[in-house]
Structure formats: structure tokens, C-alpha cells
């Protein structure tokens, strides 16, 4: 893995929720910050999201969920991620998320939760820090690639 590769991000809308303005705001912000960002569009199944994440070789998967189904969707997605042995993709979730659900989401393996009114810098900085950490850890675990 090349450390200088720009951070690649997949922003996805799982489930039936049609509110994607927040997702698009994040796409714009991260692109302006120099990241390569792909947006899935609405109503994506978790399987489709996972295969897009693999195919696009992303560092980060961002889920935007405002329909109240964040817990079920994240549990399903993280389980399938684990089933495929994927551990090096940073998973973050944003949307309308009650505070007491944050630990629930983290317990199922989500790395970061950003409810509405989280700051854009907060999201960007979290991604930068965590990806560089993950890239470092990834190298240690797998040994040098090439």
C-alpha cells in the first residue's frame, strides 16, 4: 500500500432513505480536501456497497442514514464485512442518530459516528488521522506489500 496515495472514500446511502444532501455535502468537502470520493446514489443494498468498496479499493466507507435504521443496517453491513475478512476499511456513519446509539454502533464495529451538526472539519480530521493509523497498522500486520 502506498502511503502517498490520496485517501479513497466511498460514500453510500444504504436502505430506503432518500435524504442525501448530507452525503453530498460530505462528498464535496472531502473532494475539496484532496480525497478521491465516489458516491453510490440512493437505495443501495449492503452487498452492493461492500462490493463497491472492494472494487474501488477504498480506505474509507461513509454511510449516510437518516431513516432511523442505522443500527440494523450497520450491524448487517459490519457482519458481512467481517464475513469477507475485511478489516482495514475505516467505516464511519452520519445522519440522524440519537446519542445513545453511538456506543451501539461502535460496538458493532463502526469506527466513527457523526450525527447531524457534526462539523465538516471533524469528519475530515477523523478520516485523516484514522487512515494514517490504519495504513500503518495494515503494513505491520500484513508485512510490506510489493
Amino acid at each position: 500500500m502506498n502511503e502517498r496515495r490520496p485517501i479513497r472514500v466511498l460514500i453510500a446511502k444504504p436502505g430506503l432513505d432518500g435524504h442525501d444532501v448530507g452525503a453530498k455535502v460530505i462528498v464535496n468537502r472531502l473532494r475539496n480536501a484532496g480525497m478521491e470520493v465516489i458516491y453510490t446514489g440512493l437505495r443501495q443494498s449492503t452487498d452492493k456497497i461492500i462490493s463497491a468498496a472492494i472494487q474501488e479499493d477504498v480506505d474509507v466507507l461513509g454511510l449516510s442514514i437518516l431513516s432511523g435504521s442505522h443500527v440494523e443496517l450497520c450491524q448487517e453491513l459490519m457482519e458481512r464485512f467481517r464475513g469477507k475478512g475485511i478489516r482495514d476499511i475505516l467505516v464511519i456513519v452520519g445522519g440522524i442518530i440519537p446519542r445513545e446509539d453511538i456506543p451501539v454502533l461502535k460496538n458493532c464495529g463502526v469506527d466513527g459516528v457523526f450525527p447531524v451538526h457534526s462539523t465538516l472539519e471533524g469528519v475530515e480530521n477523523f478520516i485523516r488521522e484514522q487512515v494514517s493509523k490504519k495504513r500503518g497498522e495494515g503494513l505491520r500486520e500484513k508485512g510490506p506489500e510489493i
Partner: protein, 554 residues
């Protein structure tokens, strides 16, 4: 940007040199015009109150669509309700009616909005979550059990599947012995804004426009007191529209619907009176006077468009009938009780602008769908506005204000300009199909968010005057985890008792009507009555209409 009072020290310092020159904070309208420190008669040159305002209730209706407004009747106080199963929603309806609410507003869960049945695997996490699940006529009957439809006005937030829901409502009425002509209410049925902002589309734009025209046509002929469409500004606003766009875009959508029906040989005076609007106040861009001015300008612009462009003769065609929604996006997650104050101010804007109906904002909107407490508080806020403040004592109390009239004039001009720009580029449907409109709004929304990040747009408790204390979490509404199980069991029971042959026959007749391009309503009723599910009806129509493919918009 500085706040008044924040620069006191500097003022004193600069006053040393003899002439006192206070520091003046810069201010701009949402469309980038500098706001003057004060306004006077010179700002209303060419303004003719007879021509540009008229009396309340008369052309161009700037001051209100009826002469006596709140002196005769307050606005309808209509919080948004609907959850889980038909029984729970029915219970909540009765609770709201007992609390003095004067109209019902019904939210549906996402599967119902998308034509997916509760037993559809795609629906598995969303049954009964954001609203009530309606699979068949049976659910609708239980929803309105004990609620006399001839005494009720019900507003349905439903779009792609509006025709199906309306057909169900008509049949529930018939069962109660209420003739269709007596039914009052509204279906949102505004598909164009779904492609732009809300996302519950199913079919491509062309067949969707035809379904909407079918619904309008059915209402004109059979249930004239029912509004077949409520053209909505709220979602477009939440999606990043600026004040003038929050009127010009819904107007372009409305004109597209009207023209679709005019093609069928109806006159503008038959169609336009059926169209109502759901305007927006508040939100993250909130500006009290701009919100009032934009709604006053909207009334005038609509009246002029109908009369001048479409040759309407009936004043009903020129009256812009709108309800108003306070934008939930303006409600902050930080210090949620502050949102009660925001809701009151958003509501004040709507009332000063002469709304006929208001969905107040709830303080917990940033967390979940509103709890009982939040809904009741939002209703109380409206009652305080209506009964304690005196703002209802006279019609259009801000009329004649140099500032408000100047803003109203500027707003109308901006709205016309944005409408023209889109029309010159090939029209609203083209802009939506190509995704150019969605791209523009997404960009505006992003720019606005960056302004909040930089502290240029102040949000109290978020980027200014924040408190360090850990907040107590508020109690939020939780959907019952058993809903899906219960609802699918109920659906199974309905499927078991219906006549499958009759379902198949009515569905195939519906497909044929769709293929032939006939109005689908005569074929829709038998299918609904045969207990075909919303999902089955939608699938039948998909076979003829196809499915929408999103353009790239970011």
C-alpha cells in the same frame, strides 16, 4: 460577521477623534444584496399599493388570499403524525384531536412511500419507522376507524404511490357512507421535488407526470374539495435552495403539472384551483423578514402568473393556497430545548406571512421523529402564537413597512429571474433529468455548511455561545421493534382471505389501462377493493412505466 453588541469597545475607541462613527455590521440579503441600515420612502419608488398590494382577498393577493384571514379563522394547526401500525396511528390521531388539533397530517413509512410491501425483503428495516405502514385497504380502514371522514381534513405525505393511497381513502369513505365529493384533504403527490430532493421516486419523470395528471383529473371530476397535489418547497429548501428558489422551483414544478393537465383539454380555471402549496419557513437560512417577504411575494407572483401568462379568469386560480412547514433542518442537535424558541420564531414568520396551516418544528428533530412531548410542545407554541400574542388581530400587519415591501419587491424580481433562467435552459424537467438542478442545490448546501463551519452563519449553541457541560440526553421516540412482525402477520392474514383470482384480474386490467394511456383511476379502484397490495399495484405499473435511473449529481 460580528454580532450587535460584540463591537462596543471598538465603538468607544473610534469615538475619540471627535465625530462619532459607530462601526456598522455588514448585512446582506440571501441573494447577496446589501441590506441598508434603515429603509424609507425612497426604497419604494414606483411602488403602487393599489396595484402591488390590493386589499387582502383581492388581486394580486399580496396581503392574503381572503379578506378577513385570522379574524375569521385561525390557521390549521397540524403537526405531522403517523407511526408504526394503523392502530397506533389511529390512537395518536384520537389523542391529537382531543388536544384540540384541527386537521390530521399523516406520515407513511418508507416502504409504503416506495410501493414496497411490509413483507418485501427490501423493506426489512423500515416497516413502520418513519410513519405508518399501509399495505392494503384493510390497513387504511383501521387507520381511520372511528374518525368520520366527512368532518376531517387529512393531509397525506405521499408521492409516488399517491394515487393508490387516495383510492384507498375514497373507498374507506364510501364504507363509512361518505360520498367522495364530501372528502377534504390533500395528497402531496409532488413527484418532481422527489427527484430533486426527497428521493422517494419510483417511475421515470414522464409516466410519473402522467400519473399525477390522472390524479388531478380524477379530483377535478369526482372529489373537487380534495387537493390532488401539494407542491412542496420544504424539501427543496432542506436541500440547499435559497429563499427565492424556495418559491421559484416549486412554481416551475406546479406549472409543469398544470400544463400536463391543460394538454388533456382542461382550462386553467379548472386545474389551478386544485393546486395547493407547502411553503417553507425557518431552517438554517432563517431570516424572519425574508421569510415573510418571500411568501407575500409568492402570493403576488402566482396571481400574476395565472392571470397574465395563463389567462385565468377565476380568482380561485390566482389565490396561492399554501400551508407552511417549519424546516426541521434548522433544529439543532446541540441544546435541543433551544429549538422550542426557533420553532416559535419560524411559526411567527409563517403567521405574519398569512399561512393557512402550519406544521410547527419539533425540538427533537435532529434526533428522531418527534416524541409525544415534542409534538405537544410544538402544538402549544402554535396555540401561544394564535391566542397570546396579538399577531392575529389584523391582516398582514407588516404591510407598508418600507423594509418589508422593498424586500417583497426584490424577492418577486429574483423569483421571476430564477424561473426564467431555468425555462431558458429547457425547463424544469430537463434540469432535473440531467441533474443540473440537483448539482446546483448540492453545491449551495455545501457552501452553506462551510459558512457554518467558519462561523459566518451563526447557530447559537453550535458555533456560538456553546456550553461545555455534558448534556442530558433527551428522550426520543423509538419505533416498536415488533412492528414488522405484526404488520407482516397482518398482511399475510389479508392475503389469505382475499380472492387471488380477483386480485390477478384487477391487476391485469390495471396494467392494460396503464398501457393504453387511459386515466388509471377506474382500473385502480377494483384492484384496491380486491385487496391487491400497494406493492403489487406498484409492480404492475412498473412493468408498463419502467423505473427511474438517477443521474450523477455530485
Amino acid at each position: 460577521m460580528s454580532v450587535p453588541g460584540g463591537s462596543e469597545k471598538k465603538e468607544k475607541a473610534s469615538a475619540k477623534g471627535g465625530e462619532k462613527k459607530p462601526k456598522i455590521r455588514e448585512a446582506y440579503t440571501s441573494f447577496g444584496q446589501p441590506v441598508k441600515v434603515h429603509y424609507g420612502p425612497e426604497d419604494l419608488e414606483g411602488f403602487d399599493p393599489r396595484r402591488d398590494l390590493g386589499d387582502p382577498g383581492s388581486f394580486p393577493f399580496t396581503r392574503g388570499i381572503y379578506p378577513t384571514m385570522y379574524r375569521s379563522q385561525l390557521w390549521t394547526m397540524r403537526p405531522y403524525a403517523g407511526m408504526a401500525t394503523a392502530e397506533e396511528t389511529n390512537e395518536r390521531f384520537k389523542f391529537l384531536l382531543n388536544s384540540g388539533q384541527t386537521g390530521l397530517s399523516l406520515a407513511f413509512d418508507l416502504p409504503t412511500q416506495l410501493g414496497l410491501d411490509s413483507d418485501d425483503p427490501l423493506a426489512r428495516y423500515d416497516v413502520g419507522k418513519l410513519g405508518v405502514a399501509v399495505d392494503t385497504l384493510d390497513d387504511m380502514e383501521r387507520l381511520f376507524d372511528g374518525i368520520p371522514l366527512d368532518k376531517m381534513s387529512t393531509s397525506f405525505t405521499i408521492n409516488s404511490t399517491a394515487a393508490i393511497i387516495l383510492a384507498m381513502y375514497v373507498l374507506v369513505g364510501k364504507k363509512q357512507g361518505v360520498a367522495p365529493a364530501q372528502l377534504r384533504g390533500t395528497v402531496q403527490n409532488d413527484i418532481l421535488k422527489e427527484y430533486v430532493a426527497r428521493g422517494t421516486w419510483i417511475f421515470p419523470p414522464k409516466p410519473s407526470m402522467r400519473l399525477i395528471a390522472d390524479t388531478i383529473e380524477y379530483c377535478i371530476n369526482q372529489i373537487p374539495r380534495f387537493n390532488p397535489i401539494s407542491v412542496s418547497a420544504t424539501h427543496i429548501c432542506e436541500y440547499g435552495a435559497k429563499a427565492e428558489q424556495s418559491v421559484s422551483l416549486p412554481f416551475l414544478n406546479a406549472l409543469a403539472y398544470i400544463e400536463e393537465v391543460l394538454k388533456r383539454g382542461y382550462s386553467v380555471d379548472q386545474v389551478a384551483p386544485q393546486i395547493v402549496f407547502h411553503m417553507a419557513v425557518g431552517g438554517r437560512n432563517f431570516h424572519l423578514f425574508e421569510d415573510v417577504a418571500k411568501l407575500r411575494a409568492a402570493r403576488r407572483l402566482w396571481a400574476r402568473l395565472m392571470k397574465e401568462r395563463y389567462g385565468a379568469k377565476n380568482p380561485e386560480s390566482m389565490r396561492l393556497k399554501f400551508s407552511t412547514g417549519a424546516l426541521g433542518g434548522g433544529m439543532t442537535a446541540a441544546e435541543p430545548l433551544n429549538n422550542i424558541a426557533r420553532g416559535a420564531l419560524f411559526g411567527l414568520a409563517a403567521v405574519l406571512a398569512g399561512t393557512r396551516s402550519l406544521n410547527g418544528g419539533c425540538f427533537d428533530e435532529a434526533y428522531a421523529i418527534p416524541s409525544d412531548l415534542a409534538i405537544r410542545t410544538a402544538l402549544r407554541v402554535q396555540q401561544i402564537l394564535g391566542y397570546e400574542t396579538g399577531v392575529t388581530d389584523t391582516v398582514d400587519p407588516l404591510a407598508g413597512s418600507y423594509y418589508v415591501e422593498s424586500l417583497t419587491n426584490q424577492m418577486e424580481a429574483k423569483m421571476r429571474q430564477t424561473m426564467e433562467e431555468i425555462e431558458n435552459r429547457g425547463g424544469i424537467i430537463k434540469a432535473i433529468e440531467e441533474g443540473t438542478l440537483q448539482r446546483e442545490l448540492a453545491r449551495q448546501s455545501y457552501e452553506h455548511q462551510e459558512k457554518i463551519s467558519r462561523g459566518e452563519r451563526i447557530l447559537v449553541g453550535v458555533n456560538r455561545f456553546t456550553s461545555k457541560e455534558e448534556e442530558k440526553p433527551i428522550e426520543v421516540y423509538r419505533a416498536n421493534p415488533k412492528i414488522r412482525e405484526n404488520q407482516t402477520a397482518r398482511l399475510k392474514a389479508v392475503k389469505d382471505r382475499r380472492d387471488p383470482k380477483r386480485v390477478q384480474e384487477t391487476l391485469s386490467a390495471l396494467r392494460q389501462a396503464a398501457e393504453k394511456g387511459e386515466n388509471i383511476f377506474p382500473a385502480l379502484f377494483p384492484a384496491v377493493e380486491a385487496l391487491a397490495t400497494a406493492g403489487e399495484i406498484t409492480s404492475a405499473l412498473k412493468q408498463v412505466f419502467g423505473e427511474y435511473q438517477e443521474p450523477r449529481t455530485v
